[in-house]
Symmetry: C2
Subunit: 375 residues, 2 copies
């Protein structure tokens, strides 16, 4: 970021053997969108993809921010909700871009939460065999987590994100002010991923989040910016080391094996953040049961999550064997065994044998069966 | 290829900043499939994707060749024909793999012609965000052209290959004996791409093809192998220099701008090879009209194509303005202008300004309007 934007942080993610892509974070950074696009994602035409709700909320300010561009800008919207993250919606959006005659010299701007980022990212990844995408997250979960790292995709009836591609963005622009309209409960969903970053990599960061919980839930701009910068740095460092999830990137799946199973069994009625939150507690308990994770870790995590109003009482109960069955279609399954990322203790992930390990079904069932007595 | 396979040629394609992938070419190389897979594409499970006709013809010999593998092998078939290269068929195959519970430690074997390679390649590119694919072409067009280079994708109502991904194979195994059952007319279709390689890069190769035409059309094993090796070397050299078609790879699109338009307007009733053949003649004529291509080039190309029984009389006539309109949705369109790859002369492509150039619509219309008088 040039000196004229002293308020913003720049994080670089060097991936794919290339120069990588820049991530700009800062309140007010949206005002520099046209300038940054012309430098980092120049195109003949821009296709803004957003859900209808995000378009209602932010279209005016984004069009204002794009005002300085000579290029043509078109908007493509879809109905809000995870239920729209499908191959059908992807095909519909792709056809809309083709109808408009967008060529390879076009660029997609993915504006919105995790769904828009994943869906628009997959449209860009497969449009004419791939055109650039710029991620402009508006939800906290997208700012903290999903806009960085290049994962794109859609859900199928078999599970989440089972169809997709790695398609690193040309640039990520994170303006925490775009999240100012978020309801408190959605903020908490996003913060679950920040807590995950602290749990696997950085206990002091986890403690800082804990202290900042009231401000973060209330939408305090400084606290939010600090949290986004902290999480983006952690995520970028991991992705930079292992873009394709052959090794260390797996640790970002902590909480996601059982978390995805909870989401799937609920028909996606349980929000992602809440599902991952309790996925983390359950997987910490699995680690404790195996003697890998320091005793008391799951209880400490549970206490922190309650501070963020991610209450276990809001998660519906599912039959343990149904949950275990749902983990089998997870992408992390290998040679028939489901692999789990485990903690050594808060802030330290277990490295051996290879960032994740197969866990006997009996151990997982045992943890799930003793759940209500302990939670 | 180890010394035990002295009959086979090995070509290496170093792409994506990695070690690249090997291409094995040789009559009888299929017998070494299990051995080569365990070295270059080891997996827990293999998913063979083929159309029903190819499966009928080759399933027994491929299963025999896979006999030495400890891994589980499943077959997934689809109806033959370009009409099946759709998002719907891609989704159906993906769901079939998910139904079977195939994880990230699986590998797709794409067995068949260009349709199977593109479709199965796109399934692999997007399955769990990407699993390896091995290309095992059975048609001459796939052996000569489409199995090398990593392009995958499907057609939409807007045109061919408009949705897809670059997904380099883990390995390509080309056994010309798999093409022994091909009808003469399908052989000719594939040879059109070999003629293209000669036309853009290598006049002596073009002349060798011309002399070998009777043997190539009759399916002579030595002539076919020599042609496949020659074309694979040319294609691999181009792809290695420019995998993502930012520069020199564009030259492989010679004949394809108007060729795709012919295919599209015919509802894909005109076979790809025939369409490209006459796309080349027309584009050579465009180049002559612009003073870029040596006069007489189009006529020489037309003469060679007739030797291969790719007769102009078999191409239906379309209104010139409809053809020009159909080129607009082509991926090669840039900033509203359709770009053409032009020859300097036979064997030499025009390098300037950037391997392709915008051509005024009036010039293309003029060539198309004067067509029947000259062809």
């Amino acid at each position: 970021m040039k000196e004229a934007h002293p308020f913003a942080q720049r994080v670089n993610v060097a991936v794919s053997g290339g120069d990588g892509y820049p991530i700009f974070v800062g309140p007010g950074s949206l005002e520099h969108l046209a300038d940054l696009l012309s430098r980092y994602a120049p195109a003949f035409r821009y296709a803004v993809i957003a859900d209808a709700r995000v378009a209602d909320l932010h279209r005016a300010e984004i069009e204002k921010a794009l005002g300085g561009l000579a290029a043509e800008v078109s908007w493509f919207t879809f109905p809000p909700g995870e239920a729209e993250k499908t191959r059908d919606q992807w095909a519909r959006l792709t056809d809309a871009l083709l109808d408009r005659g967008l060529g390879r010299d076009s660029c997609v701007l993915a504006v919105g939460g995790g769904v828009a980022g994943d869906l628009a990212g997959f449209v860009a990844a497969t449009y004419l065999r791939g055109i650039p995408v710029v991620q402009i997250p508006t939800s906290l979960v997208a700012m903290i987590d999903s806009s960085v790292g290049g994962k794109t995709g859609v859900d199928t009836r078999h599970g989440k994100n089972l169809v997709g591609a790695f398609h690193p963005p040309a640039m990520v622009l994170i303006d925490p002010r775009l999240a100012r309209t978020l309801p408190r409960i959605e903020r908490a969903q996003g913060l679950a991923e920040a807590i995950k970053h602290g749990a696997i990599l950085d206990r002091p960061y986890l403690e800082a989040l804990e202290h900042a919980a009231p401000g973060l839930l209330a939408g305090d701009e400084m606290a939010t910016t600090a949290c986004v910068v902290g999480s983006v740095r952690h995520k970028a460092a991991v992705v930079q080391e292992d873009e394709r999830e052959g090794g260390i990137r797996k640790i970002l799946n902590f909480g996601h094996t059982l978390g995805h199973a909870i989401e799937q069994l609920s028909g996606y009625a349980v929000p992602h953040g809440l599902a991952v939150a309790w996925g983390m507690v359950l997987e910490a308990r699995v680690g404790e049961r195996l003697g890998v994770t320091e005793p008391g870790t799951a209880a400490m995590l549970a206490r922190i999550l309650r501070l963020f109003e991610l209450d276990w009482e809001r998660v519906p109960r599912f039959a343990p064997d149904a949950l275990v069955a749902a983990t089998r279609t997870d992408k992390k399954a290998r040679e028939g065994a489901v692999h789990y990322v485990l903690l050594r203790k808060l802030g330290v992930v277990a490295r051996d044998p290879d960032w994740s390990r197969p866990v006997p079904v009996a151990v997982v069932l045992d943890v799930l069966q003793s759940l209500d007595g302990e939670a």
